[in-house]
Symmetry: C2
């Protein structure tokens, strides 16, 4: 059995990378200057940033492979403009590609998209295509709120997003619905905005008919599906009240939840109410919560422990750890098969 | 043991009441006309609106008493202006008072507040005081987002809200954090906006130091605390990462969750992770979800069944059904004692 972590971000990228971002944003103050370019980062700097962090924890926790994308909170699509966002996404994705090339057994690439408030999503298609066709990435993170907590884009079920979905289907890649930093003081990024976005996306899928138009479109709603599994009765009841089809057919053929839920009772609930075929192992390591749970003595985000503790057959755990991911990421499956895995 | 439902809204108010609202909003188009006044509603119309609905279900489900407030989704603080909102809140609260007078054994009043985007919260103090001192209400619903899904007010921990908290403490009344309708197409009201607001408020309380300034201030976060219990590990971990005190002392001396979670697994999780002293029985009946769960054959919002099914001692269930409510609503407790209960 492979242990595939579907949710990892490069939160420890070398300093010159974040410095490039700072120079980008500073450049906006004086755009007569030439646009900044990414700074040099050595292979050793990349190795150093990973060996003591994600790689160490992969080994310690027994994960084989992480689907690795740029730091979500740093996407910050609300900052800058379309050109800045495009340059930043490209630099972030190129760095992920270098990580994958240095550690092809440990990481598979998932891309950040260039998005900006008010910019048509069709402008994000090129970077997706580049990352999938040229860099070998297997998915992307799609931000439903590039305004950063002001929620000024149409719902994910709106035709606004369709040009992007067409390309996702053509490339047969999945999107994780993932917001970024919040510039709305009401919403702490990882404590409110992320979880709210997950809940919001799910309810949009109930209200809309997106998967009738795109039967093959696939999303992960991360962080255990936000509030949804805890309120599963509410969502089943709302679907009924709104005269929508049952969730199993209307939404759950196209949507998966990860296991980024940082305590045993939450994971227990998740597997109790959600079909195991809709759950992908994920940890978001190193991400939102990096400490040790004093109640267990283990890191909050060591989500493998919670799955291991479930009273499930080994074959069922394998669905969560490996098989569901290989099914929903066909390009990942193809890469693994090419390696004889 | 009394069964006290802390979360009921008058969702079935007679037609002239909603008609008054329609005339209010129409008046905004032509404010040279005299401001509309509430239409006449007979006692019989009020009885009719309740007998076949909330009262029938109270009896069928064995609840004794509902803390009853105006329909939350109709507060719609984003519509109209300060004068319209004030007139609407007063009419809604006066109608609740009539319900309480007609059925003093079944209902206790909780008030809607006049709020409007950009209007100082000090302007809401008068209606709270009127409802508590003159009408005998025991609490209020406070909307953290009067913009209706655009989230343009400061966080609940901001000094913006302090004039209202001072009055709450003076009157010794509790607020339920409760948003209203959403005018942001991203957020379905009961499926996303409500749950997101619950999650958001909790995270604001973690980030802030509100309860240091107001040690006696008390809130209910409804709908089972939004996403919070499901992600309890995340919130414990975030409090630690943000160098906040432990949740038990920093937030949970001042915050309670209700049981508006519409399936057994959700309620099981709630009582597993949240101290029983922080849980109040609530159903939101008749509210967001009115259908019958095909998995159980019982209404989704018959939350008493989920509590009854818990493997808890009778004394512990009594905390959830009665004693916690009497503790956090001292004015309710005084009213009950005056009746010999």
């Amino acid at each position: 059995m492979l242990i595939i972590d579907c949710h990892g971000h490069y939160t420890t990228a070398p300093a010159p990378h974040q410095d490039f971002r700072a120079r980008q944003l500073a450049w906006l103050e004086d755009p007569a200057q030439p646009m900044p370019r990414p700074g040099a980062i050595s292979d050793d700097a990349i190795r150093d940033s990973l060996e003591g962090n994600q790689l160490k924890l992969q080994r310690a926790r027994g994960a084989d492979l992480t689907l690795f994308s740029p730091r979500a909170s740093a996407m910050a699509h609300h900052q800058g403009n379309e050109a800045v966002s495009a340059g930043w996404a490209r630099a972030c994705n190129d760095l992920i590609k270098r990580v994958v090339d240095l550690y092809p057994d440990n990481f598979v690439g998932v891309c950040q998209l260039p998005q900006s408030p008010g910019v048509p999503i069709a402008h994000s298609v090129g970077e997706l295509e580049r990352c999938v066709r040229e860099l070998g990435f297997v998915g992307c993170n799609l931000n439903p709120d590039p305004s950063g907590g002001h929620w000024r884009s149409p719902p994910l079920t709106d035709r606004h997003w369709y040009p992007f979905y067409e390309k996702m289907c053509e490339l047969d890649v999945l999107a994780m619905v993932h917001v970024s930093a919040s510039c709305n003081a009401n919403f702490h990024a990882t404590g409110a905005h992320y979880i709210n976005a997950d809940t919001t996306a799910f309810m949009q899928f109930i209200e809309g008919d997106l998967f009738k138009d795109f039967p093959a479109l696939r999303f992960i709603i991360p962080h255990g599906g936000g509030a949804v599994p805890y309120h599963w009765g509410r969502y089943r009841g709302l679907a009924d009240m709104l005269k929508r089809p049952a969730l199993a057919t209307h939404v759950m053929r196209n949507v998966w939840f990860d296991t980024c839920v940082y305590h045993q009772p939450g994971i227990d609930l998740l597997v109790r109410v959600i079909d195991l075929d809709n759950i992908l192992f994920g940890s978001e390591m190193l991400g939102a919560v990096r400490g040790v749970d004093p109640q267990t003595g283990h890191p909050f985000d060591d989500t493998r422990r919670y799955i291991d503790a479930l009273p499930l057959a080994a074959a069922d755990k394998r669905r969560i750890f490996e098989l569901n991911a290989r099914r929903v990421y066909p390009r990942l499956d193809a890469q693994l098969k090419a390696r004889g895995l």
